[in-house]
Amino acid sequence: MSSFALCLAVSAALFTLGVVGVMVKRNAIVVFMCIELMLNGANLAFVTFSRQHGTLDGQIFVFFVMAIAAAEVAIGLAIIVTVFKNRASINVDDVTMLRR
Amino acid sequence: MVETYIQLGVALAKALFIILLVLTAVPILVLAERRVSAWMQDRQGPNRVGPGGALQPIADGIKFLTKEVLIPAHVDRKLYLAAPVLLLVPSLMTGAIIPWSKPIPADSFVGGLLRADKWAPDGIPFQVANINVGILYFFAMASLAVYGIILAGWASNNKYTLLGGLRASAQVISYELSFGLAILSVLLIVGTLRVDAIVEAQSSGMWLVFAQPVTWFIFTVAALAETNRAPFDMAECEQELVGGYHTEYSGMTFATFFLAEYGNMTMSAALNVCLFWGGYTLFGVEAILPWFVTFGVFIAKVAVFLFAFIWIRWTFPRFRYDQLMRLGWKVLLPLSLGNVVLTALALAAHEMWGAPLWPALIVGQLVLVGGIALVSVIRAKSGATGNAASHARA
């Protein structure tokens, strides 16, 4: 198996693990971590394909993905903290109604 | 075929060399700290054990090794035991990209012994790995050191250590920004991230500190804060928060924290020397000096810096935590951003209008210093109300 195919397989597996994690876990922070797993899988695919094509465009996209992921994590965690202050729970199943 | 094994052996030897360097430097540093601080405080330091206290580090080492390692019952064992290691390993790994001496020529005695003419015709480099994003690797390892601090504070299951750990790690990640921006200014001038290229660029005698003193200052302050070294050591001093994030550690685990801190200090000093003070070069003389003499030159420069670190520790009072954060975000970050902008402007002036490089850079730095002076004069003139309000809220 070439290294190219191996990296793509790892990227696919990371993405799949992230999806499963988002569906199955109920701790909001762990759900976030699984989203980061998905983003990492996508980044790995970007870099792998960019190497295969011989250009650097894929790596530029990895930068953008990282920057946006950082922004998203910051805001998402702030939201989680606010929700926790109001509901004292980070179980995503508890936050189903817009009012108590 | 044999060359591959020789290369592997040489790489392993270099890695071992760094570990041994830190392991020998740390006891010497501990003794030096105590003797130098004693000298500054007009008293004798430890001078009972051996001539002038020279065997004190050995006594300390024996004490640490034989002291009972108390693992409290309420801690998270896995994280508790992993935290010192997670702090020590990145600090050792940062030493991989630092060129400790000039490359060993292939025709020297050692080079001939290792058949260097076949696999390293330009000389065996003294770095463990000459990564082409050299300084960024240092930066990456420094940011991994945060985990040891956080986990040590968390795993001890103790309010005070948790706060100490969180404060220390917040401090580290805040000063990382200015650290990176100072490195960026250096990168702009030299044009490469490779540490050995930066050192070689200063071999003409024009050390970067002469052209970029403000950058050097920002880098040093940020490095002091990154290594949790006074006057930024609020998170681990004895008077605050009991003992910070290493309260619950004893014996060899505690010694590992110390090893990590002094190792970090050594590597920061080494990087400082490489980036700003010419590394192993000595105004061009190093071309005729053998490699072990340039190694001595490098170690001498690093020793001067370590002395300066100890000196600073015992001179300045500690920063309060909010003062520390304010310094990192409101003072050092705008300063380093302005520094990058002015350096880039100076370089643009050099490339577009043919201004000479070093004077342009110095003018940029003078403009920055002038700007700071102006801002502080304006703030002082606009009354003490500004300062009083910020202090009242603290």
Binding site: S3, L14, M33, E36, A70, I75 | N132, V133, L151, L166
Partner: protein, 177 residues
């Protein structure tokens, strides 16, 4: 030799990913995520994307996961989850999605696995950062500026979100993103 390294780090990334999902303690999940990030960074190095590898370690492993740990520790969420298990329907959908994704992407990977690996013009390490910078500031300047605006918006948004009503700033998280 290189294939061995690819296998080792690929496996480490997957083990980290599985541990993120399986662990009940959020702190251990975060540390498993760090393992995954580290392994992915090593894979980047193996593919000669050195700058991206270093940035991955600095940004992802050194800042984002630290932010996760800060929130977990400040909100004291570090005990093992004793929440009731996810409902059967959710698990079923999760498994279904997992299998679907794995199937689709696996089929694509299988199709690609036959093509040759690296194109001849792969960027060598000489001046790698320089090429990246040139690309970033010439072809992708607009996205770059927009991303900086996004980061500014995120910064302002976080500060607004964590301000308590009435009193001044009550920020306890260090957000430096």
């Amino acid at each position: 030799m290189e294939t061995l390294l690819y296998l080792v780090f690929g496996l480490a990334a997957l083990v980290g990913g599985v541990l993120v999902i399986v662990n009940r303690n959020p702190v251990y999940s975060a540390l498993s995520l760090v393992l995954t990030m580290f392994a992915v960074s090593a894979l980047y190095v193996l593919q000669q994307a050195y700058f991206v590898a270093a940035v991955q370690l600095v940004v992802y492993a050194g800042a984002i996961v630290v932010l996760f740990l800060f929130v977990i520790m400040l909100l004291n969420l570090g005990e093992s989850d004793n929440l009731p298990a996810a409902s059967g329907a959710r698990r079923f959908v999760g498994a279904l999605l997992g299998v679907t994704f794995a199937g689709i992407i696996g089929a694509l990977v299988w199709e690609y696995a036959s093509t040759a690996g690296v194109a001849a013009g792969a960027a060598t390490d000489a001046g790698h950062t320089k090429h990246l910078a040139r690309l970033l500031f010439k072809n992708y300047l607009l996205p770059f500026e927009i991303v900086s605006l996004v980061l500014l918006a995120a910064l302002v948004g976080v500060i607004v979100l964590i301000r308590t009503r009435g009193s001044g700033l009550d920020a306890s998280e260090a957000d430096h993103v």
